[in-house]
């Protein structure tokens, strides 16, 4: 699974870096380094939404630093384990 986090200007200001740090920690906590690839991307054109644009495979989501854990469980953990 590939998770792409937007690091464009506007998502950067909305907290891309924090989200990346939290996701990196969650991925290593669940020993998913071999199955989940985290990568960055410049603007993905979703920045009018309220939150940082994160793409899980081909699906766009918006995430704010406060709900990263919830996002990780629902969007990443469930899909990886299914």
């Amino acid at each position: 699974m590939t998770v792409t986090i937007c690091i464009g200007s506007s998502c950067h200001l909305k907290g891309s870096r924090d989200i990346i740090k939290i996701l990196e920690r969650l991925v290593s906590l669940h020993h998913l380094e071999d199955r989940v690839t985290l990568q960055g991307s410049f603007c993905m054109g979703e920045c009018t939404k309220n939150g940082v644009c994160v793409k899980v495979d081909d699906e766009f989501c918006t995430v704010i630093p406060a709900n990263v854990e919830e996002f990780f469980e629902n969007q990443i953990l469930k899909k990886v384990n299914s």
Binding site: I7, S9, R17, G40
Partner: protein
């Protein structure tokens, strides 16, 4: 000959003095670059006024088309002789470097210019002449790409006198230091800083005299092309790209959408790292064939901040260190400061819908203002800048 003259200087004030008695003026015209280093007798306010007067007279006369001989004549006959000391008030060195490769050097009582070529100290073919009863030495010779000229005030050769060293640093040792440092400290700014730092330590942080180092380097012209911001109209994308790719030199892309335009039209993927080397700035990206790919306005404003420090306050250890940091803005600032003599800016005027979000903590809709500031700063630093809007 497509050459560029890189110039920079660094002054240390005599301990406890607020003003420097040495003064450097640099003038650039279409035909030549002129570097004047004046050292006013004494220190503090009097010396500062005299050296400013000297360097300004030369600068003003030359920029109004006067011959350098007339300037020497004017200064030599204008400078008063101190009643108490029976000495001329201000010494000076003038180095004029023409873009055709000719050089003209005039010195009056300043330590001799250090001329480095291919790692060797070169002899300068001086002739002595008396102008208005002052003995000056002058030389005309040819320069080549790679030549480095270092002018300094006597504060350099006297560094450490009577304290760390019996006779001070002396010309030979200063020249030897420059000779060994010239390859590593490969820009005028870094070389000037390096020699001034040696002097500062010899003076144990308390300079006994105003100390100034001015450097000029003859470099080949180096072009950087910078593309930032998508064009106002999507149909202009190909025009912009064509112009951008047609220029020789390095290529830099600042902005996510701009990077995507390059990627789409050249069919090359954008790779982005998530390695935050600096928490303040988004990471850089990579596109084959591009020398640097960064995020847009945040990176550009930070780069602009770094360059403003140089254009406002001159060379400083902290400012040089800001160029060597590992983030997009420092990389861009270093490229523009040290590997660029001419910058071509390709600026799109599109308004980014995402940046109109009122919830964002800073105003991102400022690309054109940043571009204008960047242009002003780089011009003040002696670079040629062309801007083209799309």
């Amino acid at each position: 000959m497509n050459i560029y003259i890189d110039t920079s200087y660094k002054s240390l004030n005599k301990y406890t003095e607020e003003l420097c008695g040495d003064r450097v003026e640099i003038i650039r015209t279409d035909e030549f670059v002129i570097l004047v280093l004046a050292d006013g007798l004494g220190s503090g306010v009097k010396a500062n006024i005299l050296s400013t007067l000297t360097s300004k007279i030369i600068a003003t006369m030359l920029s109004n088309g006067a011959k350098i001989e007339d300037c020497v004549d004017t200064i030599a006959s204008t400078l008063p002789i101190c009643n108490v000391r029976h000495l001329a008030y201000s010494t000076f060195s003038i180095l004029q470097l023409f873009y055709t490769g000719e050089a003209y050097l005039v010195e009056f009582d300043n330590p001799t210019c250090v001329f480095l070529r291919g790692g060797k100290i070169m002899e300068i073919p001086f002739e002595n002449r008396t102008v208005s009863s002052k003995n000056i030495r002058e030389a005309r010779f040819q320069t080549a790409i790679g030549d480095t000229f270092v002018l300094f005030s006597d504060g350099v050769i006297h560094a450490g006198v009577g304290a760390v060293l019996n006779f001070g640093f002396q010309w030979e040792n200063a020249a030897a230091h420059l000779q060994s440092a010239v390859d590593k400290e490969n820009t005028a700014a870094r070389l000037a800083l390096s020699l001034s730092q040696v002097c500062e330590s010899l003076y144990a942080g308390k300079p006994g005299d105003d100390t100034t180092v001015a450097v000029a380097k003859v470099l080949p012209e180096r072009v950087v092309n910078l593309f930032t911001g998508p064009p106002s109209d999507k149909e202009k994308d190909t025009f912009l790209l064509h112009d951008f790719m047609a220029e020789r030199g390095k290529r830099v892309v600042c902005g996510g959408s701009s990077a995507q335009i390059i990627s789409r039209l050249l069919n090359r993927p954008v790779k982005t790292s998530i390695d935050y080397t600096d928490p303040e700035l988004p990471p850089i990206g990579y596109i084959d064939g591009m020398d640097l790919v960064t995020e847009g306005v945040l990176t550009l404003s930070k780069t602009n901040e770094i360059l403003s420090e140089f254009s406002k306050y001159g060379v400083d250890y902290e400012h040089i260190k800001a160029l060597d940091r590992d983030n997009g803005a420092s990389k861009l600032a270093k490229l523009l400061m040290e590997e660029c003599t001419r910058l071509n800016l390709f600026v799109g005027k599109a308004i980014n819908a995402a940046h109109q979000n009122p919830n964002l903590p800073v105003d991102l809709n400022i690309r054109q203002r940043i571009v204008n500031q960047l242009t002003d700063n780089l011009r003040a630093l002696g670079k040629t800048v062309n801007v083209k809007y799309y």
